[in-house]
């Protein structure tokens, strides 16, 4: 509803039909891309798909596996979208995720029960996000630099928390990971899918509601669209940005918990490169990098596309093609966003 009204302002009255089609395409193209990617992968791999089970890309075990390992990115995509819609960026999400994973594993291995460890880790994530917000809003450091600083800082802390000579927090040296540790990220609870996946779905739905129905969502779009106008019309842009950084921090902590539970490890490098994936899925979802426009749900679909691509690709080409394909997709997504927005401004 909201989307349609947004696009209707571009409709040229002399050609209502053609514009309806293009508006429809612009809104729903991401679903077509997803269907296309899945179709191509299903047709292409056939018998080389021996990663999990010989057979088709579209078999149940494979789908469940992909959705399970997608949980961290899916959790992060929505929050990251809201932040980019407001015209800001967080390059520290990967490090926030790593640090949360390490904290969560440390708590668990030292005998803290599940719910307490979970809650404490979320609070830590909130704190890390809020610190980003503090640097950007209070100290007025450029978002890119502020979050580059915390990227390095959080990663350093995560590495320091893991003692020398060990690569990650794991069973050993008298301590043992509790039984429940990998339940959250691994065991199917509903339709064979893990709790982490369903949490990602719930988080995304909540953020869709936030974006469409709450003041925070409206303020985020207004701040990104025109910061000056937003400020002049009485929006507390500082508070908005601060809250969004905190939300991203919490989402990154959830992602860290999911990753750490899936791997049964507290790996201080587990979030490396996550900021790139997050930027990529947000761009794939058609979010304007200058801010002001973007949809949480479309980024969620974008994340599904990327995960299907990365897993599916392993069946077609060797693993060392991955960086090249991801980089090319990033540039292609950026270029296509540019072409769309240029067309809109021409109309």
């Amino acid at each position: 509803m909201n989307l349609m009204s947004q696009h209707s302002s571009f409709v040229d009255p002399s050609n209502p039909r053609g514009n309806k089609v293009s508006a429809f395409l612009r809104t729903y193209y991401i679903y077509f891309v997803l269907v296309l990617v899945v179709t191509v992968l299903s047709v292409a791999n056939l018998d080389r798909f021996d990663l999990f089970e010989r057979g088709n890309f579209l078999n149940q075990r494979n789908i469940i596996h992909i959705l399970r390992i997608s949980a961290p990115l899916l959790t992060l995509a929505g929050a990251f979208t809201l932040l980019m819609v407001s015209g800001y960026i967080d390059l520290s999400v990967g490090s926030t995720m790593s640090l949360s994973a390490v904290v969560y594993a440390l708590l668990a291995i030292n005998g803290v029960p599940f719910f307490a460890a979970f809650a404490i880790t979320l609070v830590v994530g909130f704190g890390l996000g809020a610190f980003n917000g503090f640097l950007v809003v209070r100290l007025k450091i450029t978002p890119v630099i502020a979050t580059l600083i915390t990227l390095s800082l959080y990663k350093g802390i995560a590495l320091l928390l893991v003692q020398d000579g060990v690569s990650a927090i794991k069973s050993g040296g008298g301590l043992k990971m509790p039984e429940w540790f990998n339940f959250y990220g691994r065991e199917g609870v509903l339709l064979g899918l893990s709790s982490a996946f369903w949490v990602a779905v719930v988080v995304t739905l909540a953020l869709v509601i936030v974006q469409n129905r709450s003041l925070l969502g409206k303020y985020a779009a207004a701040t990104g669209g025109n910061p000056m106008a937003a400020k002049l019309s009485g929006i507390n842009t500082k508070k908005t940005i601060f809250s969004l950084y905190a939300v991203v921090g919490v989402a990154a902590a959830l992602a860290g918990i999911a990753r750490s539970s899936f791997m049964s490890l507290g790996d201080p490098l587990s979030g490396d490169g996550m900021e790139l994936s997050a930027i990529l899925v947000v761009l794939l979802g058609g979010t304007a990098f200058s801010g002001g426009e973007g949809r949480v749900l479309r980024s969620f679909i974008g994340a599904l596309i990327i995960m299907a691509l990365t897993v599916g690709m392993l069946t077609l080409v060797p693993a060392y093609y991955q960086t090249l394909v991801i980089g090319t997709t990033l540039l292609a997504a950026a270029a296509s966003n540019h072409l769309v927005s240029r067309k809109e401004s021409a109309q």
């Binding site: 640097l135 630099i145 350093g156 020398d164 200058s290 090249l324 540039l331 950026a334 540019h338």
Partner: protein, 341 residues
């Protein structure tokens, strides 16, 4: 008219040094101060040889910093340099390897070394051109573009080396450039080239129209366009310049180690950015200098090597870098605000 302009300039110079000189002096004195503090804390730190090593060990990052600084001054990021270092190094190896090796990783194209080097630089230029195309023509934020091209460059390097490295079947002359020592001292050729690059860059920045235009474009892009400066061409040149430097660094590194390694130069783009920021280059553009960047590199080198000297675990490096950049940015903002109050 010419005379009045001259006296006006002289007047300003007499009264007050520019903000830029002020910040550069500040950075330089911080670098010297940190070196002295480190000398007190770390045994055997205060030695000429150590001071020399601080520079020579960081020749690659300092060289990359030159291109990155120019781009930052013009208001653009270049995070692709680390990827380009890997790409050009791997390309130079692949082109120079003789044909018909035992397996895929030991047989290359068998070009003569000079041609292999030229082709590798062409490959680096292609990435620079891609940066320029996306940033200048498509107007996509440079941080996103150069993160993408960083992955593309490194991705190509990984495909060529199949995710590992190529180091066999190389001609003898391959290892010469990176290991050549100059004038009978232990200083290697890459360090000398870095020195030459610094001098040329400072000359361009201070004395040539091209350098001054870079500042105008960064300080006020709209005014620059309105006053007839071809911004697109200028920024394109800068991206090509930066990627050629990165290409040469990559070739020299792979010659030094006699191997093309697809993960070489990882995080170098961040280090180049960090030393520029430490050196007082403003992220918003229009402010900063190559000399400042050089002293920024010294600060980082002193901090990290002192940390190693005090036997802190290498994990501390990330935290130290973060704190150093944080303090540098706060100090510079504070100093400028206070001065121009």
């Amino acid at each position: 008219m010419r005379g009045s302009k001259k006296t006006g300039g002289a007047l300003i110079q007499n009264r007050r040094m520019s903000d830029e000189v002020y910040i550069t002096l500040l950075v330089a004195s911080v670098a010297v101060g940190l070196f002295l503090i480190a000398s007190l804390l770390v045994p055997n730190f205060f030695q000429w040889l150590n001071l020399l090593n601080l520079v020579t060990n960081n020749w690659a990052v300092i060289s990359l910093g030159v291109g990155v600084t120019f781009l930052l001054v013009s208001g653009n990021f270049d995070l692709s340099v680390g990827g380009v270092v890997a790409l050009s190094g791997v390309l130079s190896v692949w082109f120079a390897q003789s044909t018909g090796g035992a397996n895929a990783l030991s047989s290359g194209l068998g070009l003569p070394y000079w041609l292999a080097v030229l082709s590798a630089i062409t490959g680096a230029l292609a990435i620079g051109g891609l940066n320029a195309l996306f940033v200048v023509r498509f107007r996509i934020p440079s941080i996103i573009v150069t993160l993408g091209t960083m992955m593309v460059a490194r991705g190509i390097a990984q495909v060529i080396t199949q995710g590992s490295q190529r180091n066999t079947n190389l001609p003898v002359e391959f290892g010469v450039l990176g290991n050549l020592t100059a004038f009978g001292t232990s200083v290697k050729l890459p360090v000398v080239l870095m020195g030459v690059l610094l001098v040329v860059a400072i000359f361009i920045e201070r004395k040539m129209v091209f350098g001054r235009l870079t500042y105008w474009i960064g300080a006020n892009p709209v005014a620059a366009t309105l006053s007839g400066i071809d911004k697109a061409r200028h920024v394109t040149f800068l991206y090509l310049f930066s990627s050629v430097i990165a290409g040469i660094v990559g070739i020299l590194l792979s010659s030094e180690f006699k191997s093309g390694y697809s993960n070489r130069g990882t995080l170098m783009e961040f280090d180049a950015l960090v030393i520029a920021l430490l050196g007082g280059v403003a992220i918003a553009g229009g402010f900063g200098s190559v000399v400042g960047m050089f002293f920024g590199a010294l600060i980082l080198a002193v901090v990290t090597s002192a940390a190693t000297g005090m036997t802190l675990s290498p994990d501390w490096q990330y935290i130290l870098k973060a704190v150093a950049v944080f303090l540098a940015i706060l100090a510079q903002t504070w100093a400028l605000a206070r001065r121009n109050r």
